[in-house]
């Protein structure tokens, strides 16, 4: 009895502190994203919901490549369905019951059938998820797939990826320990197990063990699993794994206009209108004109909230980078690195703000301390990275904002581009041809 009360106490303390810490971190991520400029939403809400259903829920874009898609889908479905079992585990932990849902409806055969069916289904999915996890681990560590061995993954990102996979194996092992030992106990008490499909096959072989041993085993499995779940909740916001949650808002907020369409900088449009209008061109500047306008992005504050959400959503799978023509030809640019750098810088800025009582204190750094000019210059704006992303992240948009800053704010441009710009400005063609000769092609 004392042990039971102790367990309830420990569970609730861990549970509440986890919720508190996870909520605090979530709030921090939310306010970090709020540091970006407001995003423009185009298209209809229906279209956005359709994207969430097809691309986030249905994982439509993963299925470009069938084998990894199926493996990933196993883990995904196992994760979702396990949440049902988790509800009972939470209730059991909070009030000290044992398989509360099963015992609440002790005499209801239909309910028992559903319960056993659900747990059996979860067990099947867990085995599939286990196989998928092993495949993913070997793909990273034995097969060394090119996209998993790029320089930006050196160090922590590789550890992060492996850690998550090992974590999944740990959780699966715990849940099976729990179910197997629990059923072996059930056999000793009632002559038969609950009837769970996979653990039910193994349990009879262990039913000869002492009840105490089985009970301890079951408790280790139960506690190991729930502590693992709490650990996962706390680890998640620090890892690349946030896509399991953020894929949903990210697909919702993704742009619906053609991929080729870049935004027009409104600040530039305004300036040109003033310049072109003889009434305003020479007028004295008004109060409103005095606020300095920034063109493009130098730091995370200059990006919009979708860019920042993109950065947190990225799970560093590297499909973008393997499709990038610049990366394929040995250039420094990697769209994945753009996303990782954006997130790293955003986290750094967030911590800076926290440490300085809600005010950002200039740290002599910017996003451009992470991303080099050479990387930005290598982009062909071909949209291959955008096309590839299974969760509708747009690395090209960030690249373009940074490019705009380089040119418009720093006049940092290769000589050849300067020539091209002045040709466009002076003779309306990127090359040095006279506009007067634009019909010469007619003459052959």
């Amino acid at each position: 009895m004392l042990l039971k009360i102790l367990q309830i106490l420990v569970f609730n303390i861990i549970f509440l502190s986890t919720i508190y810490l996870a909520f605090k971190k979530a709030k921090q991520i939310y306010s970090n994203i709020q540091l970006g400029k407001a995003m423009k939403k185009d298209g209809s809400t229906n279209e956005r919901i359709k994207n969430v259903l097809l691309i986030a829920f249905g994982q439509q874009k993963m299925f470009q490549n069938i084998l990894p898609a199926i493996l990933h889908f196993c883990i995904y479905v196992a994760f979702i369905i396990t949440q049902i079992e988790l509800i009972e585990i939470f209730i059991d932990g909070a009030i000290g019951s044992h398989r509360l849902l099963y015992h609440t409806f002790d005499d209801n055969h239909i309910f028992h059938f559903l319960y056993v069916g659900t747990i059996s289904f979860i067990e099947i999915l867990s085995v599939l998820a286990f196989i998928a996890t092993i495949a993913f681990l070997s793909r990273r560590n034995l097969l060394k797939l090119p996209r998993f061995t790029k320089p930006e993954l050196k160090g922590w990102p590789t550890k992060d990826a492996n850690l998550i996979l090992l974590f999944e194996i740990y959780l699966i092992a715990c849940i099976f320990s729990m179910n197997i030992a629990d059923q072996a106990m059930h056999i000793q008490e009632h002559g038969e197990g609950y009837g769970f499909l996979i653990s039910g096959m193994i349990a009879p072989a262990l039913s000869h063990l002492s009840y105490t041993l089985l009970h301890v085993w079951e408790r280790i499995g139960w506690w190991g699993h729930i502590i693992g779940v709490f650990g996962f909740m706390l680890y998640l916001p620090h890892s690349k794994h946030l896509h399991i949650l953020l894929a949903f808002p990210n697909t919702y907020f993704a742009k619906l206009t053609p991929k080729g369409q870049l935004s027009n900088l409104e600040a530039v449009t305004k300036e040109i209108k003033i310049m072109m209008n003889p009434d305003t061109a020479f007028a004295a500047p008004t109060e409103a004109d005095a606020t300095p306008v920034k063109f493009g992005a130098k730091d995370v504050f200059d990006l919009n909230q979708k860019h920042l959400l993109d950065a947190y959503t990225c799970t560093e799978c590297g499909r973008c980078t393997s499709a990038c023509p610049a990366n394929q030809t040995g250039k420094k640019l990697s769209p994945r690195k753009i996303m990782m750098d954006t997130r790293d810088r955003l986290e750094e800025v967030g911590k800076n703000i926290q440490a300085n009582g809600g005010q950002f204190v200039d740290d002599q750094k910017s996003l451009l301390s992470y991303i080099t000019v050479e990387e930005l210059r290598a982009c062909t704006t071909c949209n291959a990275c955008v096309q590839e992303c299974p969760v509708l992240i747009n690395p090209l948009d960030i690249i373009m904002e940074l490019r705009r800053h380089l040119i418009l704010e720093e006049s940092n441009s290769p000589e050849e581009w300067n020539g091209m710009f002045s040709n466009i400005e002076n003779n309306s063609a990127p090359w040095q041809f006279s506009q007067q000769d634009r019909l010469k092609w007619e003459e052959n």
Binding site: P258, L262, M276, I407, P430, W441
Partner: protein
């Protein structure tokens, strides 16, 4: 080729063309792209389509400036072009350049330039569907292998994948797809203003890699629908010293040849 009418000349007679043929800078000045411009013009003239060009009044759309990051140069160019297009009350634009197509169609409207913009791949496909372009006996392409290289600004940027393939289909040639095509097609290396500067350090040139992918399917002809892809792929083929066996042509050139308006083979 008959004399080309300019929009200004038509306006002087109180006329507006049904279609403005937006030639683009490459189409106006690049020696190779001029052949595409001429081939497309011959098709339009042959079909008696009421079209005109802006001629000396046409200016760069600003695409390379914008993609390089120079929004100012782009919007200045756009502003000038939109004033001219609106002054002539242009309704429909056809262009042989996917970069011009993309920016006119997607980025000009917000700045006050709203037109129906069609790329010539789609336009040719519409003419074929309407039965206006017919090729007797498939032209002289029988037995030739053609592979189509998707331009990023036509394909991924605007989801146009089928129109160019349907145009090629009437040539009665054998169409072969590269390993990477349509949505997964690889860039030729020219976009994003790369055309106008040296490559960043790396271990290969993008156009060389893309050309290798095209050559893998043993084509007689690599078909393109973009003057910049044309330059990149032609250079790639020449660098491999395959220019005698493998030719790079634009859709318009292939159709003009098939109709006996041009001779390219």
């Amino acid at each position: 080729m008959e004399k080309i009418k300019t929009v200004a000349e038509m306006a002087a007679n109180g006329e507006t063309p049904e279609i403005l043929f937006w030639v683009g800078c490459a189409g106006s000045f690049d020696a190779r792209a001029i052949k595409i411009t001429r081939a497309f013009t011959k098709i339009l003239q042959h079909l008696n389509i009421n079209f005109a060009v802006l001629g000396k009044e046409e200016g760069c759309t600003g695409d390379p400036a914008k993609r390089a990051g120079n929004e100012f140069a782009y919007q200045m160019a756009a502003h000038t072009n939109i004033e001219i297009l609106n002054a002539y009350e242009i309704k429909k634009i056809v262009t042989t350049c996917p970069h011009c197509f993309n920016i006119l169609k997607n980025e000009y409207p917000e700045l006050g330039g709203q037109y129906e913009v069609v790329h010539h791949a789609t336009y040719l496909q519409e003419l074929i569907d309407a039965g206006k372009i017919k090729i007797q006996g498939g032209g002289s392409f029988k037995g030739k292998r053609i592979t189509f290289h998707d331009s990023c600004y036509l394909g991924r940027a605007n989801d146009i994948y089928e129109a160019p393939r349907e145009v090629l289909a009437i040539l009665d040639a054998e169409l072969v797809e590269m390993k990477k095509s349509k949505k997964n097609g690889m860039c030729c290396g020219a976009g994003g203003a790369q055309m106008f500067k040296e490559d960043e350090p790396g271990d290969a040139r993008i156009n060389a890699v893309r050309t290798e992918q095209a050559l893998e399917v043993n084509p007689d002809i690599i078909a393109a629908a973009c003057p910049f892809c044309m330059t990149m792929l032609s250079d790639g083929v020449t660098a491999k010293d395959k220019q005698k066996e493998v030719r790079v042509f634009d859709l318009a050139e292939l159709i003009a040849h098939g109709q006996g308006l041009d001779s390219i083979l």
